[in-house]
Chain length 474, copies 2
């Protein structure tokens, strides 16, 4: 084991002294998560400028038995990029590696370094009449490496899939400091195991993504946005089926927002929906290069009225109106924060079981946390809801988390749909995951990071790795 | 090591005597591949009826040190499901496990056993007005497990992605005989490592897929098919960019067929294109729920004429005409077989480098195999070509394979786009893959199948696994 002075000196030797941050002031932006709910104590923050420097840092830390916490834009919603409080973990920030290496409008790919800001890449693509189809709220600071490490979802998963589906190639620094270059610009490649899949969504616990090739798509020529209020969740689900039939793959978003969520927006952001309320609202978006999109959207609305699913609805007449409708959805999270403390759950359940899940969870919460409020909204089209509980000081927060997650598992769902496990959900995952999932996870972690120095505590805590799971496959 | 008699007796104890095939006559259909170019000698063929039986077989073989070759519909194009000729490997056929466990038209998923025939599942989905978007020529005999094991591509990858993108959940029997159940019906699930990704496309070398959950999509209401002839590959690529702009995500196929390919079809299947020939033909298909599709397709044609890319073209006026146009494409493989022996290459190259690849490969072939013919066709939209060489008896077949694959690698492509490595391409992959790819592959194989009993010789030969690659990460 190296002394701290030796470590800092060796790191400075790799990246230059000014890129090794050590004071509390300098490291603060890297030590607290975006939601300001978790603060760690890094040994230091190191900011490499190249893949070779990342590799050298990993080798150095490996030789000294020092843990590394990779970090991108630090916009994660589960504190997966925040170190623990021991002061022994090195935060490796990719934020100097922002080069867009190439953008190929014919092959429809972009090759970027991991620290590139999502919005910058999207703008570069747009300037060449192409689109990078990853749309998340934090695009102004989130990095490519971060969205890959968490397999980020977002608003357009319904149409384009998760980040995994957009990722064509990766360059990864492995735990032994070697570099695996899989930066292929290919839509189809079945030669050998597709190892990039192992690293996508692995939260920096198996290797450090230093660059990626992402898929681009053509920019849709037409778009349509509508806000509807519906009488029930069943009506919302029926309307979704109808919309899929009418709009097909051009349906790019189908967001569910509870009446309670829009009450919060009305009270704290002073924005009101321009239509009569129901129990739920739907924000529907379509995008296509084909004419006939707007007709199809109006057909959805008409069919919804006829079937009695829709109470009221409006189709945006202009880009400005569409933005106003989206603003209602986009202010939900901020309004929730202004209202008071909340427990966030990032869950997915098949649409077929969503009603039963909501009933079970709410019934249990009424008993365990009387008076708690609910702020439920999310990507209904993906079965992904943000099920947030507005608790009171006397409520047992851990019990609330357990109730929501137990109901999710009971109905075949996932407790981590698009934000990652990070620090927030790792205990719950370990509590609820099937034994076989844990064994397989432990097998891969042990194979790729035998010393457990890459983002320890995330996904598989070190103790589990070296004790409980070392039966079975291993 | 068990005697053969003991083995057969123990297998019979698991599945019943009639499902352990031992005579040359009974095992013949399982011992030769679909192309009739590779014949193995199985110890026996065992046909389990359930996941529990598969697990018991794997445990039995594991205890006895006997290798298992999993097999689905035996329609693979690279002999990945054919045993070697030692007579020591057990073929485990999934063809009795055909149950469609559930089809959920609301949640848009289907859960099936691995031996289910693709066409049966597609028809079941169609009967409920849903579509399983995996379209391959062998759908009448290919199984769900087989398309997952090879991460099959096909005609609609452009729009819906590879089998990987359609697979939501897997049930896998691991090398130790334990069962990992990941049959989740979720579009989004980021809880822990997404281990199903490891097994998709792994050709039965890491575990045996026994069941899967696949994603369904809505059935497009409109479709359009057009055949065009173009002046050059550059024109074809420009037309593809134009079609993406005009038709967007509704573009479901963009097939390239060389004039030589259609000559073969004309000579051997007596089908002729109804338009004036160019060097290349394009078969374009769009499918959408939105009106405006046909207008957009005609716009592509008109734009193509204006730009000088298109020589001639026709848009099908009826379903029957569309089928006639597709028949030209579908007869290419059969016409090639009737013409004489050929060497098939299943390659992908970025569209940006496709011209240089074709030039390099052809120049080298003219030198090394003078008089060889070329039959080039495939999925241009994915950069995936079937680059088949019609060789003469005096040509060096191994040299031809090397020339084509060297040119592929030179231009950043893949030597295995959608058919798998199987037995045909594994040597070439080992020759050409980056050292880091081999090391990572070896790491996973060693971790999941330490005794190397699952489909040995495919992807990573046993010798490599236990010698060469055991440096580095391991």
């Amino acid at each position: 084991m190296t002394s701290r002075t030796d470590l800092l000196s060796a790191l400075s030797g790799i990246v230059g002294e000014r890129y090794v941050l050590t004071t509390a002031e300098d490291t603060a932006p890297y030590a607290t998560d975006w939601k300001r709910s978790t603060t760690g104590v890094p040994a230091c923050v190191v900011r490499p400028a190249s893949t070779a420097q990342v590799a050298a840092i990993v080798r150095l830390c490996g030789d000294s038995g020092i843990s590394i916490v990779p970090q991108g834009g630090n916009t994660g919603l589960a504190a997966g990029a925040i170190p623990d409080t021991t002061g022994s973990q090195v935060v490796l920030s990719l934020n100097r590696m922002q080069t867009i290496r190439s953008l190929d409008p014919i092959g429809m790919t972009v090759e970027v370094e991991a620290g590139a800001i999502l919005q910058t890449v999207r703008e570069k693509a747009a300037s060449m009449d192409r689109m990078l189809p990853i749309a998340i709220a934090a695009e102004g600071s989130a990095t490519v490496g971060g969205v890959i490490a968490t397999n980020a979802g977002g608003l357009n998963v319904l149409r384009y899939g998760m980040t995994r589906d957009i990722t064509l190639g990766l360059e990864v620094v492995l735990a032994d400091g070697s570099v695996s270059n899989g930066l292929r610009h290919l839509r189809k490649d079945n030669a050998g195991y597709d190892w990039k899949q192992w690293f996508i969504g692995s939260e920096g616990t198996l290797g450090i993504v230093t660059a990626a090739v992402l898929r681009l798509v053509s920019v849709p020529r037409y778009s349509v946005t509508a806000l509807l209020s519906v009488s029930s969740l069943e009506a919302a689900i029926s309307l979704f089926g109808h919309a899929q039939q009418e709009i097909g793959e051009a349906l790019s978003a189908f967001e569910l927002i509870s009446a309670n969520s829009l009450d919060l927006v009305s009270r704290h952001a002073h924005l009101k929906p321009p239509i009569t309320a129901g129990d739920w609202f739907i924000l529907l978006e379509g995008a296509s290069s084909l004419s006939g999109l707007r007709d199809a959207a109006e057909g959805v609305l008409a069919g919804g009225f006829e079937s009695g699913w829709v109470i009221d609805g409006v189709v945006a007449e202009s880009e400005a109106q569409a933005r106003q409708l989206w603003a209602l959805r986009e202010h939900v999270t901020e309004a929730e924060a202004r209202d008071g403390p909340s427990l966030k759950h990032d869950i997915s359940v098949s649409l077929t079981h969503l009603r039963e899940f909501l009933d079970d969870a709410e019934a249990a919460l009424v008993d365990a946390a009387p008076g708690a409020g609910l702020n439920i909204f999310g990507h209904l089209g993906d079965g992904n809801l943000h099920y947030n509980v507005l608790f009171r000081p006397d409520h047992d927060q851990k019990a609330i988390n357990r109730i929501v997650h137990d109901a999710v598992i009971k109905h075949g769902g996932s407790i981590s749909a698009e934000h990652g496990l990070g620090q927030y959900r790792v205990d719950e995952w370990l509590r609820l995951a099937p034994e076989s999932d844990l064994r397989l996870a432990s097998t891969l972690k042990t194979a790729l990071d035998p010393s457990g120095l890459l983002n320890p505590g995330k996904i598989l805590p070190f103790s589990l790795l070296h004790t409980k799971a070392i039966r079975g496959v291993n």
